[in-house]
Symmetry: C2
Subunit: 300 residues, 2 copies
DNA sequence: GCCCAGCCATACCCTGGAGGTATCATGGAG
DNA sequence: CTCCATGATACCTCCAGGGTATGGCTGGGC
């Protein structure tokens, strides 16, 4: 599949008429018909129902259309942003983070770093694995994740171990308790992040597995807030790091787990063997203060 | 630009060696060299620096790589999901929503509808404009948005008007006040959602404009939580509907505006002239209860 | 009920571009 | 200084994207 297939498909989906769509695309109708058929073969599903007065999107086609539009939108946005960036002259300092560390200290670090002039700070939501890759490739300079990864080129430092809590729909039978993993395993689970893997999701699944427990993953979500929305919608329960409970939402209660050893580390990753730049030194100094504050309870 | 350009680029970016990348891609080195050059021409920027011992990503190239990977990931995910959906046989009922209405009643509606058997409920984050298009195309069946849009095929119902509030970094000079738009305009603004437009972002910009005020849009974000993260990072302030203040975050305070007429409607959109299905009737009944609860203060 | 127009699908054709080989230039390692 | 690895360019082949021609089907209009 190529982008032209998505471009052709989206125009056809809007027009619901191959002849008109071909005109819009400045091509003739037969090759467009063939390209759409080729796309359907590759997807392995009919995206359109054919009729004598044009086409109708199938339910699958409607679904595909949403995502195809998003892909094309992101392609355009990426081209635009890349062109803008090529014209920019500022010094880049990139920070990668998994979303579940963005509720704690990270905003304070960002706030501190932003006071530096002549620096273009970029924040990128990346899994820990992606952070390792991004560090090695030079795309980011600091990473904040949750997984321990052994890599000869990357140094990982555990900032602290953070307890995991269960996020439950309000009114849940376990509300007000300090449940065991076994008790939690009896209920459907909302797992996040869905992709890419491995991630905190795998840490959680592994934890259940090591206790010989099977879990029913009812739905997966990429965004923590979407996961919490699903919990609020009574689709299941989820496990979150402690700092997430700062973000109170209606319809959700948080409970501590019976097993206090169930924690998730907040890990800072840096490239090995690099002489720290002035920005890196600044970041390290701010981090030291933040970790000390947490240790001493001044910043829970 | 086609997906193959992104595929080639990503492999080259990983290998940093055209010869090795060509091997991985099962092609020879010269056409790969040309395809990368073609991509660079289309992007209008060098993505690699060439050297006698291989390539190095430029800063622009690093940026492009992040996004290219995301695009390819989304393409794969879309194909997978589309194939799964083609195999699914359940009845679809789609709800589209702008994120800023997902903090209030929507989770309760979803929770209510999920109790129906044989229904596949899909939630799609869409702008109000996209919801209109999606309703007409049959991709969703209900839409919850913020913008009034006149369309002969879609009926819009204002559920209620919701006050807008300002989200400020903690310690902000305006903390604890009820500021005017003029006072707010003096500070940098974080605008969301960035794309697609028009959206609540345009409503907010239009509001400032109508008061003859110029605002400095410091940064745009697509996600509300990302916008709040940016506010917490002291990048600027943002305006949010009242229900968002339920989601408390460290580093952020919410203040009511002096002008109480500054509101944002929560609008429900449906296809016109359709006999409501049993699911739609159920949804309508739940909505009626939710709106009545809000009116009577039982559910703020 | 018939006819015609609009629409999509298929057959056949052409050519531009993707990918091949051959080869050159450059620079770093030994 | 030499050799080798690497990327770029020149030239070539062939296939797939897009063209025209045409057929079949169906619904709307008369």
């Amino acid at each position: 599949m190529e982008l032209r297939h998505l471009r052709y498909f989206c125009v056809v989906a809007e027009e619901l008429n191959l002849t008109c769509a071909a005109e819009r695309l400045h091509m003739s109708q037969p090759p467009l018909s063939r390209q759409i058929k080729q796309l359907e073969r590759e997807v392995g599903a009919d995206l359109f129902e054919r009729g004598p007065r044009g086409l109708r999107l199938t339910a699958t086609g409607q679904f595909f259309q949403q995502h195809a539009l998003q892909i094309l939108e992101k392609v355009d946005a990426t081209l635009d942003a890349t062109r803008r960036m090529a014209r920019s002259k500022r010094m880049m300092f990139g920070i990668g983070f998994v979303p579940s560390v963005f509720y704690g200290q990270l905003p304070l670090l960002v706030r501190g770093l932003r006071q530096k002039d002549n620096v273009e700070l970029t924040l990128a939501e990346l899994t820990t694995v992606q952070q390792i890759q991004a560090l090695k490739a030079g795309r980011i300079d600091l990473g904040f994740g949750r997984l321990r990864i052994d890599d000869p080129d990357v140094a990982q430092e555990i900032l602290f171990d953070e307890p995991l809590m269960a996020a439950l729909p309000a009114g849940h039978p376990l509300e007000g308790t300090t449940p065991t993993l076994e008790e939690l395993a009896a209920y459907p689970l909302v797992l996040f992040p869905a992709k890419p893997r491995p991630s905190l999701a795998d840490t959680i699944l592994g934890m259940f597995r090591r206790h010989g427990l099977k879990v029913n993953v009812m739905q997966e979500a990429n965004e923590l807030q979407t996961a919490l929305g699903l919990v609020a919608s009574d689709i299941g329960i989820t496990l979150v790091p402690e700092q997430v409970k700062r973000v109170q939402r209606d319809g959700i209660v948080y409970v501590y787990l019976a097993d206090k050893s169930i924690t998730s580390p907040v890990i800072c990753s840096r490239r090995k063997g690099e002489v720290p730049s002035s920005i890196m030194q600044e970041a390290n100094a701010i981090l030291e203060v933040l970790v000390e504050n947490r240790r001493s309870g001044r910043y829970p």
